[in-house]
């Protein structure tokens, strides 16, 4: 019961808020609301946990649960008062599409497998043991945000004084550990498997959002087919099955932001910009790489928001600023985000380029994601069929990809061992890349992909 409440309350509150805020939008449907609702609710919950720890000197599940319930109730009242305009009607099944039903069954079947893995296994992977679960467990047991410090500081701290803790990454963001702490608080006990419930829930939210956003531009069959493909990417699956790492949060956040950016760029819809903000916050607050990936969205946003005549000037200015910061970073030797130029060993290693691409196209379990993406982009450019929205998302993805290519060919990570981390970083881009592939291919395929596309409350 506690577990169910821990997932359902944030989901309900976030979804209700989004539904209430969708008053002037025609770029929404119930799936989009459900997909972005959980991340919004999670962000609110984690923020509330932080405030609760600071103000009430400890976590209070009852207070936060009550707050979430209140938010949900107020939002639902607002929705009901604007029912004609806002509330999506209950889907009316006029004709059962056997292909959609089969695809949905495949997704549910796979999701069931992933839930089993997440629910019964002990923690998988070193990082989960070392610094994601450590904070969650300590914060649950102590009942407040007990401070984590570097090991060197732990040694010199007076052990007769205030208790502090240490792990290999004491400064990492609190979003992921607090999502586990929240579930433990709701259950009233620590269970290192069940506290990972937010991973399958977020995965489900991603699928909802993906289907919903795609449904706004493509037909039902096509949208469900592409959602089934997303649900089957092996590396994404394994991050749910062996839950506990922050990479899924980053992937979901970046994917949500990219999808909302596409819709906002197509329509200028303000509500979709709010959804974009939710994705950005989730991505940036999950871990450091998420913050850096969010910066890669800036060129895409600039392309959409700024007039074409000054866009190139601003882009040039941005590149110049990045160069200036990079040069300063290298020359001054200052430390940024715990790294220095000396540590990063900045120099291009040409021999690592091919292994980098081999990781993407040959060795890893992506199915045919990157091939389809590449072929779609090339074909769309060839036929000049990419609209500005797709270009904006594509530009952001190119920036993110270029950033990762730089990291894995020109820094300390440009080794064969270092490149072992390529797949899990590319995973962050996978949902966004598949969404862009989907919209590109829907244009390339023409009418076949558009059957049944609806505006407004589409299913």
């Amino acid at each position: 019961m506690g577990l169910l409440m821990a997932v359902a309350l944030p989901w309900l509150a976030g979804s209700a808020l989004l539904a209430a805020a969708a008053t002037r939008s025609d770029r929404y449907n119930v799936w989009v609301i459900a997909g972005y609702g959980l991340p919004l609710g999670l962000l609110i919950t984690v923020f509330a946990l932080r405030v609760s720890s600071a103000v009430l000197s400890g976590f209070s599940f009852a207070v936060i649960a009550g707050l979430l319930l209140l938010v949900a109730l107020v939002a639902v009242v607002v929705c009901l008062r604007q029912r004609q305009r806002v509330m999506p009607s209950v889907p009316r099944i006029q004709k059962v599409d056997w292909l959609v039903v089969v695809l949905l069954a495949v997704i549910v079947y796979r999701f069931g497998h992933l839930v089993v893995g997440a629910a019964v296994q002990p923690l998988v992977g070193a990082d989960t043991w070392w610094f994601w679960a450590s904070k969650a467990r300590v914060w649950y047991e102590t009942g407040y945000l007990a401070p984590f410090v570097p090991y060197a500081q732990w040694i010199v701290t007076d052990h007769a004084g205030t208790m502090v803790y240490a792990d290999p990454k004491p400064g990492y963001p609190a979003l992921v550990p607090l999502s586990k702490t929240w579930i433990a608080l709701a259950m009233g006990r620590w269970d290192e498997a069940l506290t990972n419930a937010m991973w399958p829930a977020l995965f489900a939210a991603l699928l909802f959002a993906f289907y919903g956003q795609l449904r706004l531009v493509a037909g039902q069959r096509y949208s469900m087919l592409l959602t089934a493909l997303l649900a089957g990417i092996p590396l994404l699956n394994m991050n749910v099955f062996g839950a506990g790492l922050a990479d899924l949060f980053v992937a979901v956040g970046f994917g949500l932001a990219a999808m909302a950016l596409y819709q906002a760029a197509r329509s200028g819809d303000r509500w979709q910009w709010w959804l974009f903000g939710i994705g950005v916050l989730l991505c940036a607050w999950a871990k450091l790489i998420g913050l850096l990936l969010v910066l890669c969205l800036v060129p895409g946003v600039a392309l959409v928001l700024l007039p074409r005549r000054i866009w190139w000037w601003l882009m040039g200015l941005g590149v110049a600023m990045i160069m200036a910061v990079a040069v300063t970073f290298v020359i001054s030797g200052i430390e940024w985000l715990g790294m220095t130029a000396d540590y990063l060993k900045l120099s291009f290693h040409g021999e690592t380029v091919l292994p980098f691409f081999r990781r993407i196209f040959v060795e890893e379990g992506w199915h045919l994601l990157w091939y389809g993406f590449l072929l779609g982009v090339v074909a769309a450019l060839w036929r000049r069929s990419m609209d500005q929205a797709a270009v904006a998302v594509g530009l952001s993805l190119v920036c993110a990809f270029a950033f990762l290519a730089f990291v894995f060919t020109s820094t300390i990570f440009a080794t064969r061992g270092g490149q072992d981390a390529v797949p899990r970083h590319l995973l962050h881009l996978a949902p966004a890349a598949l969404f862009l592939s989907a919209v590109i291919w829907s244009r390339l395929l023409g009418g076949a992909a558009k059957l049944g596309v609806q505006r407004g409350t589409a299913y």
């Binding site: 923690l123 208790m163 092996p234 199915h367 390339l444």
Partner: protein
Amino acid sequence: MADTHAMPDGRRTAPLVAAAVVLALASVLVIIGLIGAWRGDGLVESQSWEAGSMSVAFGSGELEDGALVITGTQQNVAVVRVPMQPFDAGAYVYADLEFENAGRHVSVMLTWNGPSPERSVELIHTGVWGGLVRLDRAAAWNGEITRLELVAGGADPVGVRLKRLTLSGHGATQSMRHAVTETTRVFNRAASISAIDFSDGRRPRHLQLAPLAVAVSAFAWLWFVVLGRLFGRAPAPLLPMLGGFLLIGWLLLDLRWQWELSVHTARVWDDYAGQPWLQRYRAMGNGDIAEFLFEAREHLPEKPAWVVFSGDAFRTTRRGPHFLYPHSAVGGGARPGKLQPGDFVILFRRPNPRFDSANGALRWEDGASAPARLIWRNDAGGVYEVTE
């Protein structure tokens, strides 16, 4: 792209598609055979030994295959001696063990005949997919390592049959990289499980299915165009047709992945669902340290204490604190200068330092010491409290 033609009659197109796919498969197989003959030793840098049809059961003492020598040493344990070629960049070696009825955890230890075994090997990780082992960089590069010994056993070893052992070398430079390597390896091993072997009669090779599917799709598309022109049939829209071939390839990969996932899920369910936590840790290969620390923490004060935990290896040292929270536990080498009075020191399978009961001190091999009292001890280690 000539994709604006009208969609042809499906009855006329279907035989063309089928023929194109068959020809594409044949084309790809021929090309792979040619590449294999040219490269000689496979497409991925690795060494692989197969036990063949006469699978090896742990504890049976059977010998298999001229290259893979397996000798049973005692019940539930097998020793595998592997003639090993030096790796070109071998700071790390992954030992991927493939079992006929995998899913049961098998603990793995490796040693070799290098110049200094104690210095040269450290077991980083074991799991249902195999073990990750760090070899000494210099020894690997200098070609001093020419044989590995693998000792394997498990909770249900009689039911586990070793099918294949693959060693692959990867370079890395920093110890902290272990974390990334381990995590990534575990995930990647499962995620990239869709691999296929082609043998040219000498050595199995690993080619991932994704590029294979893409190659078949592309060839099928080309053959489709060629056959369409040869037989004068109306060509289908080319771009959607290529997309369709790719989609079929994707779905086939997904079918295989779903099968692998289903099998793996069933094993996970059997091993973990409803089991006590200690049993789950055992199934995952952390039973030794979990069992010890569950008992050790009973001897710590109820109020959170400051604890330094040292294990016998990097893996155990890093994982130990997980079992000790909410005590303020850190994993690292306990040294006198880093300890304060009232701190607890937990040592797991470490010969250094030793507890000097006569003088009430922890004593290190280099002569350093710290006054301490013994709280609790068993065969695997002990709990000590620093007194001054």
